[in-house]
């Protein structure tokens, strides 16, 4: 599997500082190399989101980590608007979606580089990582 497009965009999302939590560190190891690493159940082959613990399908209590393709399609989305300030100005809206990875699981996805009006079910997307100066990298989904 090849490395994904490295994003050194200047349009980084202001999120504060992201730290590892000791439970999902392999996700961030992958992110550091621009690879989407998620959970996989070795006994039954099913794929899960990085925060899944245990396989609800076969009952395996341990999931391993494995690189996913990073390819996804859009399931549903919302344009989240910030609350207007006293002077009527509002922060720029955020586009959030549920995306279906090629391997099957859905991820909570922050969409980037998309026009809200052009979004549609099934839109091809690709995992992409931002590497802020401080803290861990984070995941965005951009048009494939």
């Amino acid at each position: 599997m090849g490395a994904m497009e490295t994003t050194k965009t200047t349009e980084t999302v202001e999120i504060g500082v992201l730290h590892r939590d000791g439970r999902t560190d392999p996700f961030f190891d992958g992110a550091a190399e621009d690879r989407l690493v998620i959970r996989r159940c070795e006994p039954c082959g099913r794929w899960y989101a990085p925060d899944q613990s245990g396989c609800p399908d076969c009952g395996a209590d341990r999931l391993s980590w494995a690189p996913a393709s990073g390819e996804a399609t859009l399931v549903t989305w919302t344009v989240l608007h910030g609350r207007p300030a006293e002077d009527g100005t509002a922060p720029p809206p955020t586009i959030l979606g549920l995306v279906e990875l090629a391997e099957g699981p859905w991820l909570n996805a922050r969409l980037d580089g998309v026009d809200a009006g052009a979004l549609r079910e099934g839109l091809p997307l690709r995992a992409s990582f931002v590497h802020p100066a401080q803290g861990e990298p984070y995941l965005l989904f951009r048009p494939a």
Binding site: F28, D51, V79, L107, Y138
Partner: protein, 388 residues
């Protein structure tokens, strides 16, 4: 037939922008009012079931705060918006089994502070985030509005449901609220008002979203035999059910398309010995307009995917075929989680609805919804004792 249970008392504090009282104090006030409403005293209680909202209080220590002694049932329950229905079911089972005779169920919350917007009351901000879940939260997945918007959009994509159809629910619910002196929002609104209200999380407008309220509501449950001799007309508990679909977040998921009402509804109706065509009025959990629409489908009031056309028909409005959220619900009335639909059901069953009283009220469906459509509860209530 054997023993059955009934709601004998209803206690509600002031609701809305009620400041200066903690959630525990509000809960205590609601329990006192519910007991007095039933014509009982606190010493008559031998059971207490507690649930709280965002405030994280009260818990079982409420019993001590009320000075209750020698309780036989005391617990805290939480299935979020489905809790009220679950509490009533547990209290009914306690009474029927003989574990207790007189059980109060209470919900309280006080998320609002003076000079703070409703949204801010439920918002958490942090500059430091931890792990994968922290990352998605940092990127925006800490907004309940956004999560319901994702669900609502999915319904629209699959079934062609429109924002105007969500708006029909906002308008009919407000029509009911105009006749409820307890409702926080009593000015009539039009579909145009709904469409022009600001976006919160597309496709949800501001008028698709519930209020935020401080306050507490309690009910007292006892045997149907005993309730008959108490102060107020009994509201008989005919049936109950829960449904927790556990939709996976993966290919083929039904997220946004079906809810636990598809499980809890048939269980409660079978227990009650009724079918969907017997329901005279509905009190449905309406954290969002969309929640009402999808719940109506899952209960079988219309076919899956036809909720939009059903609500546009005017069925839910005053004079409609299925009066729904007759106190203004949580969209326009007051936001007391599952106690909002339950309290209005008790008011309607007793015939206390005043200007908004629905004439035919023999069978009332009460629906709770918690999490992001993760938890559902259903109650079937009636002013009549169920025939054997």
């Amino acid at each position: 037939m054997g023993e059955s249970a009934a709601i004998a008392g209803l206690g509600m504090t002031e609701l809305g922008k009620v400041y200066g009282r903690s959630a525990r104090r509000l809960a205590a006030d609601a329990v006192r009012r519910a007991v007095a409403d039933a014509g009982l005293g606190l010493a008559d209680l031998d059971g207490l079931v507690v649930s709280h909202g965002m405030s994280g209080s009260p818990g079982v220590e409420l019993a001590a705060a009320l000075g209750l002694r020698d309780l036989r049932v005391l617990t805290q329950m939480n299935a979020f918006g489905a809790t009220a229905g679950a509490m009533v079911a547990y209290a009914a089972m306690s009474v029927i089994s003989g574990a207790a005779t007189t059980v109060a169920c209470v919900f309280a919350d006080a998320p609002l502070r003076p000079k703070q917007s409703s949204g801010a009351a439920y918002e958490r901000s942090a500059r430091e985030w931890y792990g994968y879940g922290g990352m998605t939260a940092a990127l925006g997945f800490r907004s309940v509005n956004a999560l319901y918007a994702l669900a609502a959009r999915r319904h629209m994509l699959r079934y062609g449901t429109t924002s105007e159809q969500f708006g029909a629910i906002a308008v009919s619910t407000r029509r009911w609220a105009t006749m409820n002196p307890l409702a926080q929002m009593r000015d009539p609104i039009t579909l145009e008002d709904h469409q022009s209200s600001r976006w919160v999380a597309e496709p949800l407008h501001l008028l698709d979203c519930c209020l935020v309220s401080n306050g507490a509501i309690a009910v007292v449950i006892t045997s149907a035999d005993r309730a008959r001799d108490l102060a107020r007309p009994p509201v008989h508990i005919w049936g109950w059910g829960q449904g927790h679909p556990g939709h996976r977040r993966e290919r083929g998921s039904e997220f946004g398309l079906t809810t636990g009402a598809a499980i809890s509804g048939p269980i409660a109706m079978k227990m009650a010995g009724v079918t969907v065509s017997d329901i005279d009025l509905c009190q449905l959990y309406d954290c969002y307009t969309y929640t009402v629409l999808v719940s109506l489908e899952d209960y079988g009031f219309c076919a899956k995917g036809e909720g939009g056309a059903f609500v546009e028909s005017g069925a839910l409005s005053p004079g409609g075929s299925l009066p729904t959220n007759t106190g203004g619900g949580q969209l326009s009335g007051y936001y007391m989680w599952g106690m909002t639909p339950l309290s209005e059901a008790v008011i309607q069953a007793r015939g206390d609805g005043g200007e908004r009283q629905v004439a035919k009220r023999d069978v009332i469906l009460v629906s709770g919804n918690g999490g992001i459509l993760d938890h559902h509860s259903t109650l079937i209530l009636s002013p009549h004792r169920k025939e054997a």
